[in-house]
Structure formats: C-alpha cells, structure tokens
Assembly symmetry: C2
Homo-oligomer: 162 residues x 2
DNA sequence: TATTGTTATACTCTATAACTATA
DNA sequence: TATAGTTATAGAGTATAACAATA
C-alpha cells in the first residue's frame, strides 16, 4: 500500500521515506522552465494526433504548404527551421502517403514547387480540428485566455528579439 | 550590397525578390512558440558556457548535486527527467573531469552516493556567474522583471498541471 | 522477487560535406 | 560560379530490454 514512488505523501500525514530531490534555482531559470514545458506540450500534441500518425513537425509542414503553395523546398524548410538535407526524407514520407506533391518548376528546373494534395488537405483539416478541440482547448482551459495570450506575446518576443 | 538572404527589406523601400513564407496559424500555437523559444534560449546558453565546456544538462546535474549531496543516481536522474541508463555516461563524463564522485553506500551497497568535488564546486560557481551575468541578464533586459516573472509563473503551471 | 547501476541497442533529431543537375 | 535537391554520414538525445550485484 501507499504507492509513493514519485515522492508524494500518503494519507494521514505520513512522511515519505525519501524526501523529494530539490532542483533549487533550476526552477527559476527560464531556459529550464521552457524546456520542461516544451516536453509536456510535445508529449500531449503527439498523443492527440497519434490516430492520424502525424508528428508536430509533419503537421507544421502541411500547414505551411497549405498557406504557401508553389514554394520550393529551400524556402519551406528555412521558414520552419529545418535544414534542407533533413527536409528531403520528411517530404518523401509525406509524399509517399499522398499528402503533398513535388513538381519541377518550369522557370527553374532545379526547384520543386510544393503543393498539398486533396488527401493532404483532408488530413490537415482533421489534425487541425483535433489539435484545436483537444490539445489547445485543454491548455486554454488550464491557463485562461489572458495568460495564454500573454504567454504567446512573451515567447514571441524571445523568438524575434533574443 | 543589400544582403537580404533572410528576406529582410533593404534600405529605400526596396521589395525583396521573394516574399517571406507565411507560417500562418503556427505562430498562434503555444507548442510551436515554446519550441522556437526553447531553441533560442538553448543556443544562447550553450554559447555562454562554451568556455567552461558545459552543456545545460551537465550544468543542471552539478546544481542538483550541490543541493542534494548523498543522493543516488536513480533519484538525481529522475528529478531531472533523465533516464537512468542515459545518466550513466553523463556521470562518467563529469566524474572523469573531476567534477563529481560516486561512492558506494554503506547502508545499501547497490547505490552510489553522489557528491560534488571541490573542482566541481568551482566549475559550478563560474558557470552560475556567467549564466547570471550574460544569459539571464540579457533575457531580463529584454523582457523586464514583470514579464520574466509572469513567464516563469505560466510555464510552471504548464509543467505542474498540464 | 525487486532494485541499483550498467551495457547494449535502436530510433529520432540535428548537423556538415559533397555530389548532380541546373542556372 | 552559384544554387536546389539530394546522399551519406556523424553526433546528440532519448527509449527499452536485460544482466550482475545486492536487497
């Protein structure tokens, strides 16, 4: 009884055999807090879209292709912070599943103009709905609209100006 | 002249040859914003302590050992979210550099009681000073004390309750 | 039987150099 | 010569199974 593997105190003011390890000032370091939050959010995102077999990175590619049809691999990869060599296998996977297409540009035969297929559009629609109704909804419920907006504002400042 | 590789507009209202790719609603997804901010912060942290040859993960281990002497590998690894098998090589590296020590527990000869050496204490002191004066100082300067505290509060809520 | 530290291993991410075909 | 897509490859980081010593 009294399963206290994570160090919680059992009912009745019973002290756990081993006090919790103290991470000290680590919890006051922004980088550490961001890292821990990122792992939590990534894990939940993955669980939410598991049924669709999409990773956060794949989801982000579909989103960008929808909004930027005709762009080439270099442009899309750079916008998402993905290195061009690593983007190749990613696109291969999405293309093999029929979610997107490469077509040689007529004006520059080195480039591939990227586009979402109809199947890709459907997958993106489903994913977007699940993310909104499960993942983001739960997060908004926890934080409330004000804190959610504040968090986005502060993180955006770090991304753009730090 | 007019180095616009990243899509910035040059002086004189000159329009860049290729408009920036639009990442759309991605910028409104908390998970994406957190991920991008995490990469920025990690990169700067790494640059700041490059002279000391410490990664954020190694820094966090030294911090926890200082505040929790005598704990074993399982306890410290779990507090930091590191899997026990992966913690072995990490400790090997820190021990080889003389920053920490393992000693067999007298009460449970399976465990190693971990401790910081004097050399580890010195390295931690230096790292802490650099992080405070360079990394965190620059971030606080960008955000201001209120936004920094707010960010820590919201991220802490996600880590603990999401 | 359960736990600690450990080894082995595998899979994903990320990073760099270099090739090809085009420009 | 420079660029787009690609290949090969190497290094982190992370994950699980299993083993020896000990409880």
């Amino acid at each position: 009884m009294a399963k206290t593997a994570t160090g919680q105190v059992a009912a009745g003011a019973m002290i756990d055999e081993a006090a919790a390890v103290d991470i000290g000032e680590l919890s006051q370091l922004v980088g550490y807090a961001v890292k821990r939050a990122q792992l939590k959010l990534y894990e939940d995102f993955l669980k939410c879209v598991a049924a669709l077999q999409l990773t956060p990175a794949q989801f982000s590619v579909l989103l960008v292709l929808e909004r930027n049809p005709g762009r080439n691999q270099t442009e899309v990869a750079r916008a998402l912070g993905i290195l061009r060599p690593n983007f190749v296998a990613m696109l291969d996977g999405l293309e093999a599943r029929g979610f997107c297409a490469r077509s040689r540009s007529t004006t520059d035969r080195r480039s591939h103009e990227l586009s979402l297929t109809e199947k890709g559009r459907v997958a993106l629609l489903r994913a977007r709905r699940i993310i909104a109704s499960k993942h983001e909804a739960r997060l908004s419920g926890l934080l409330g609209p004000d804190d959610r907006a504040t968090l986005l504002r502060i993180l955006g400042k770090i991304v753009r100006e730090f």
